[in-house]
């Protein structure tokens, strides 16, 4: 439409301010191209051309002003990514979990078996309930410990005046370093023969005169192994909690503390009645996020134990991986992955309800 405009230089002054603005936006470059106006063209038709052009331009802008059009437009990139790269694979996964699909199996042999995979996991599989139990313990313990220690660390960081920046950056390190690599370091720290912890324990025992001790088998004992992988998750996750809670602490109005102090509240009371409620919004967000991520954690167990010894550290993700990727039963593996979906969906629903309540 821009190409029509330069032919009508006469019309310039007659159009409204808005239209001129539109014209400038739309056809600036073309307007400079000095095509001589055709003699036959009347000013009126010229004006009409411009009006039409300006109108459709305006309509375009007007459309963008409408929240629904703009809304859909803005949702487009995210929706595109989600629908093309999550929705299809997710749908695929759900479908797989209802079939007997194996890796590379020709489609003629794939058959629909309903909920058999789920029923099988629930009733006969001898490892699945281990994975369920471990996942809940792992997530529960890790989340609780990260929560408590995270708040504590945040309070300490908030009080800190000197070296603030460097300490905060240093505290974040465990969260920054690629998980696989830090976990390999823990593999070495937990090594039964070369564990630095056990070396220290041995020295301590000898020094105390308690005799020789080999030290715990960090990854060899079923309970300790689960605790060890949980420990690594805690180590890795605390910085995220602490920094998020630190952010939360900074949203609390100092007046509240002063008021509490005037009322004679002790430090502990102030923490309980001012700090904790003050960081409640972020607590919900952080914990929901953390539960989801921890529940589907993979790397730590994969590097440290691969689910052993005797399946005492298998989580949903590692067991699904073992069944589907290594044991090639895609259908069954997908069912393992999807089993936790309802649990996590509950968490999400809680968060959405909470957020909505907060907004009203």
């Amino acid at each position: 439409m821009g190409s029509l405009e330069p032919r009508c230089p006469v019309a310039r002054g007659k159009i409204g301010r808005m239209e001129e603005k539109v014209q400038r936006d739309a056809g600036e470059e073309v307007a400079h191209a000095s095509l001589p106006p055709s003699v036959e063209e009347s000013a009126a038709s010229c004006l009409a051309t411009i009006r039409t052009a300006a109108w459709s331009r305006q309509r375009a802008i007007g459309l963008l002003e409408r929240p629904d059009v703009l809304g859909y437009l803005l949702m487009l990139p995210a929706a595109f990514i989600i629908f093309s790269f999550i929705a299809y694979p997710f749908g695929w996964g759900v479908w797989m979990s209802l079939t007997n699909k194996e890796v590379g199996m020709s489609w003629s042999r794939v058959s629909f078996i309903g909920l058999w995979n789920y029923v099988h996991l629930w009733t006969t599989d001898g490892v699945f309930w281990n994975a369920v139990r471990n996942s809940f313990l792992y997530t529960g313990i890790a989340t609780a410990v990260k929560w408590v220690l995270g708040i504590w660390l945040a309070v300490l960081l908030n009080r800190m005046v000197r070296f603030q920046r460097i300490i905060r950056a240093a505290i974040l390190l465990p969260w920054i370093i690629p998980t696989v690599l830090s976990t390999i370091a823990f593999l070495w720290i937990f090594d039964p023969d070369f564990s630095v912890i056990n070396w220290t324990l041995r020295r301590f025992y000898t020094w105390m005169g308690w005799g020789y001790v080999k030290g715990p088998l960090w990854l060899g004992d079923p309970t300790l192994a689960l605790m060890s992988v949980t420990f690594v998750n805690i180590w890795r996750g605390i910085p995220f909690y602490a920094i998020a809670f630190l952010a939360g602490l900074q949203t609390i109005e100092p007046d509240l503390y002063e008021a509490a102090a005037i009322d004679g509240a002790s430090g502990w009371q102030r923490f309980w009645h001012v700090t904790l409620p003050g960081i409640k919004p972020i607590t919900v967000v952080v914990i929901v996020f953390s539960i989801i991520v921890t529940f589907s954690d993979f790397q730590i167990v994969y590097v440290l134990t691969r689910g052993g010894p005797a399946n005492s550290t298998h989580l949903f993700a590692t067991y699904a991986y073992q069944i589907a990727m290594v044991g090639t039963r895609l259908g069954l593996g997908a069912a393992v992955s999807l089993f936790m979906f309802p649990v996590l969906a509950l968490v999400i629903v809680y968060q959405l309800v909470y957020l909505r309540k907060e907004h009203r």
């Binding site: 963008l64 989600i82 790269f85 997710f90 370091a185 605390i238 949903f316």
Partner: protein, 308 residues
């Protein structure tokens, strides 16, 4: 808690310095351990009778140099930084680092763009289906990556309509990572956008700005801390990712740092502990540097997101 007014030194030590010290040791000890392991000789690493906290050969070499007022780079190299040299000279580590940075930066930018637009729409605009979109984005969070990677490798191996294969290509990961980054960025930024008073935009729009102009010129600058923290978060997640990078990339020269180190330096029966640890440390440096610049923004960004 406010300022520690009127606390005695002893109490301050007990409730402040001691716990803080404990936390710092707790978080940093593994890093110390990685560093020490990375400057020990393999022989020393496998010796169970020496003090594992001190790299003997290295400290001896340094002590000799200090005593003799003589600096010898090569002695230092042989006794301390042997593994570092191996890592940097004899492996593709530098290439992996470049790949990681490239992949992380591009996928962060893509995800931020999609996240910002979606978050703005969710936070500000009322249109049919907005709630459904919101819930959908939350739900996509939950889709377990172990479920996704077979169908995803299918998709990436033969991109729909285009029929390109992005397997063994950094772009394959750039396509895959937004699957978990976009929901996250959207979630964080939706909260943040809600904290910015609507009145500011409305005023700008009364002055004749379009909504998009108001969004780009008014809201976005105010949301910068939120954008920065979402960006850092996305960057970290994509730099740490392991599973997709392991499955989708086959050439050693195209690998990312975590996958490259694990697949090149763990040789079955033999772990190259020194190189592994040096790689772990070096691999986290770029992100650490970015963090140390932005940590305040990061905190501020989350602060905003939470208020929302």
């Amino acid at each position: 808690m406010g300022t520690p007014v009127g606390e005695g030194l002893a109490k301050r030590l007990l409730v402040f310095h001691l716990p803080l010290f404990f936390f710092i040791v707790f978080t940093l000890f593994p890093f110390y351990w990685m560093f020490v392991t990375s400057i020990k000789s393999t022989h020393e690493t496998y010796n169970r009778n020496v003090n594992p906290y001190i790299p003997v050969a290295c400290t001896t070499a340094i002590a000799e140099q200090v005593k003799g007022f003589q600096f010898s780079g090569s002695a230092l190299m042989e006794n301390c930084f042997y593994h570092w040299r191996y890592l940097l000279r004899d492996t593709l580590f530098v290439q992996w680092l470049k790949n990681t940075l490239f992949i992380a930066i591009v996928s962060t930018i893509v995800s931020l763009f999609a996240g910002i637009t979606a978050a703005y729409a969710l936070a500000r605009l009322k249109f049919r289906g907005v709630d459904t979109f919101g819930v959908l984005i939350f739900i996509t969070y939950l889709v377990p990556p172990t479920l996704l990677f077979i169908p995803l490798s299918d998709l990436i191996g033969d991109m729909p309509l285009l029929h390109w294969s992005l397997l063994n290509n950094p772009w394959g990961l750039i396509v895959a990572y937004p699957t978990f980054l976009v929901p996250f960025c959207t979630w964080l930024l939706t909260g943040y956008f809600r904290t910015i008073p609507k009145e500011l935009e409305e005023a700008a729009m009364i002055d004749g700005a379009t909504r998009i102009q108001a969004m780009v010129r008014i809201v976005l600058p105010l949301a910068l801390p939120g954008v920065v923290s979402a960006g850092i978060f996305a960057f970290t997640l994509s730099a740490n990712e392991f599973l997709y990078a392991l499955i989708f990339i086959s050439d050693a020269a195209n690998k990312t740092v975590p996958v490259g180190i694990v697949s090149e330096l763990i040789k079955g029966d033999v772990f190259y502990w020194g190189e592994l640890m040096a790689g772990a440390l070096l691999g986290s440096i770029p992100v650490a540097v970015i963090y140390s610049f932005f940590v305040e923004h990061y905190v501020a960004g989350i602060t905003g997101a939470v208020k929302g």
